[in-house]
Symmetry: C2
Subunit: 330 residues, 2 copies
């Protein structure tokens, strides 16, 4: 590829002048600037970033490590959020997938160090508490969708409590009084926060606790996680007789819709349905379309990148708000 000296020769100036033009140094006479720009255009010159990084001692590159335990469309949202911000500021984002079997997080961090990244975003695919490699502490870093056991790193996580409060309040506001919450696996952080949020909303509205039923219907067995949502829905409708069901995730809502249809109940009229995620086009696929709390992955990615770009080092636990997507299911 053509280099700065060739451009200089072509433009009839010193190569340092070309460098100045490329770096928008204002001390270049207009006439020379034009000559250089023309030469760059004609030769298709693109500055060599590696050389620039070597000399400048700063890379303008940030790393994003995505763990791959679960592959979800949300991964991509976090990446998009971070990258959109990075790009606005002319920074690069280097994305590395981590995967226990093939590539460890430690290895990924080493790679990123070699590239002299100026900061690292570590993104987990689901909201949880993580044991962070110590290496990460040697460099500005943020966690996305997870927090550190040792609480020694800043992180951004979804505000599960707020999400559950918001949708429960919305349900109550619409007149639903007897709510069954089919929660996720109770061992994960998301499930705990949401349970709290639903309870908060009941208390804020002075509703009796006997009108609230909460059960975890994603349970763990030897093969990993497993949904008992169908069985639970049938049972809960028959025994608890709710006027609304809040589902721990949109996929669960699909199952609930099926069971309700089979039992001859109609969504909204007989039982209102709410959910969490706003997973792809699942909510629009259902009829009536599902009202759900959208996970703030894109915004979390943005927040993380902004945190790094601001040069922050404070250890905060930032909570990003879900958004209520009102459709037709309650």
């Amino acid at each position: 590829m053509v280099n700065i000296k060739q451009v200089a020769a072509h433009a009839g100036v010193s190569f340092k002048t070309v460098s100045r033009v490329v770096n928008k140094d204002p001390t270049v006479k207009k006439i020379n600037q034009e000559k250089v720009l023309k030469a760059i255009e004609e030769l298709g010159y693109r500055p060599n970033r590696a050389a620039s990084i070597t000399r400048r001692k700063q890379s303008g590159v940030f790393g994003l490590i995505a763990d791959e335990l679960l592959k979800t469309p949300f991964t991509f949202d976090i990446i998009r959020g971070a990258q959109d911000i990075a790009w606005e500021q002319n920074k690069e984002l280097m994305v590395l997938n981590v995967n226990e079997k093939r590539f460890s997080a430690e290895k990924a961090i080493e790679h990123l160090f070699e590239h002299r990244v100026e900061g690292i975003i570590y993104a987990s695919m689901y909201h949880r508490v993580l044991d962070i490699p110590d290496e990460l502490l040697k460099i500005p870093a943020v966690l996305v969708n997870c927090s550190a056991i040792k609480e020694n790193l800043a992180c951004v996580i979804p505000d599960e409590v707020q999400a559950a409060e918001t949708i429960t309040n919305s349900l109550i506001e619409k007149g639903y009084k007897r709510i069954a919450f089919l929660n996720l696996n109770e061992n994960i952080a998301a499930a705990k926060g949401r349970k709290q949020g639903v309870i908060n909303a009941f208390q804020q509205n002075n509703l009796p606790m006997q009108d609230l039923y909460i059960e975890s219907v994603i349970i763990e067995d030897k093969n990993g996680e497993k949904s008992i949502a169908r069985e639970a829905t049938r049972r809960v409708i028959n025994t608890f007789n709710p006027d609304a069901i809040l589902c721990g995730q949109d996929f669960m809502a699909v199952e609930v819709y099926f069971i309700m249809q089979a039992m001859g109940y109609s969504v909204k009229q007989d039982i209102g349905i709410g959910s969490f995620d706003d997973w792809e086009n699942t909510p629009q696929l259902l009829q009536p379309m599902l009202t759900t709390m959208a996970l703030p992955h894109y915004k979390m990615g943005q927040w993380a990148m902004n945190y790094l770009l601001a040069g922050r080092k404070d250890i905060v636990k930032h909570k990003e708000q879900f958004k209520l997507i009102e459709r037709e299911s309650f």
Copy 2:
């Protein structure tokens, strides 16, 4: 960060010897190698990639441009496939999301040129024919999940014809004789290939064409694409009376399941259902679980990276095979 000369001083050898150890040059005596390794460990030295790239004149970095028209979990599969291969060979992958509003593909290519990438993978989020920026021709490049209008670039695309043939044959083998295929928007490449595949299977099995019904139930109107699957399913069952329905995508199958349940038909016993995608955990969510043709995104990502790493320049149109995931819906 610590540099090669500091390591050399600490180890008591010349800095060139450190370079040799780092690059696994076998002409270093074991005793010195150990000294250097120890020094590297103690100082936490990581070679500076930018400097190495500058000197070596090759970056070991490849670019992946992902267009963002549609965000799907499959995007990530393509990236994973490419990255897994890249990493095995100690190459880096730089992923850039492209998005008409913010960042054009041209801009992404410029960025990648600055990083002196050794090749570029351009991945489309759905299978289609694209007008490729000429810039891409200046460097080794492959297209994933799309092909070039001008046919001037190698590409890897899903083998839609094979997929449709395979699942239709499987349906026929299991005794289904009268098949309705609810296809995607007929304007997209995938729909065309699949239609052909279904027809091929009927011909190969000498089945009468009047036992095959094909309709595109994803249609375009002023607001973009829209599904008429529910209406069509009801109509097709009533008028064509199929013993199997083949759906253009898993999401469509969800709708078909709902309609069938509402009409009092049971999946598999009354009407067998097959589909395309293997979208996340949608197929497992349905009961009975959905048999579907899994899109080969991961493999396409791998193929693309292997193409570049092999230094190939031949303009091929490689087709990657779908995989039949047999579950319980027919």
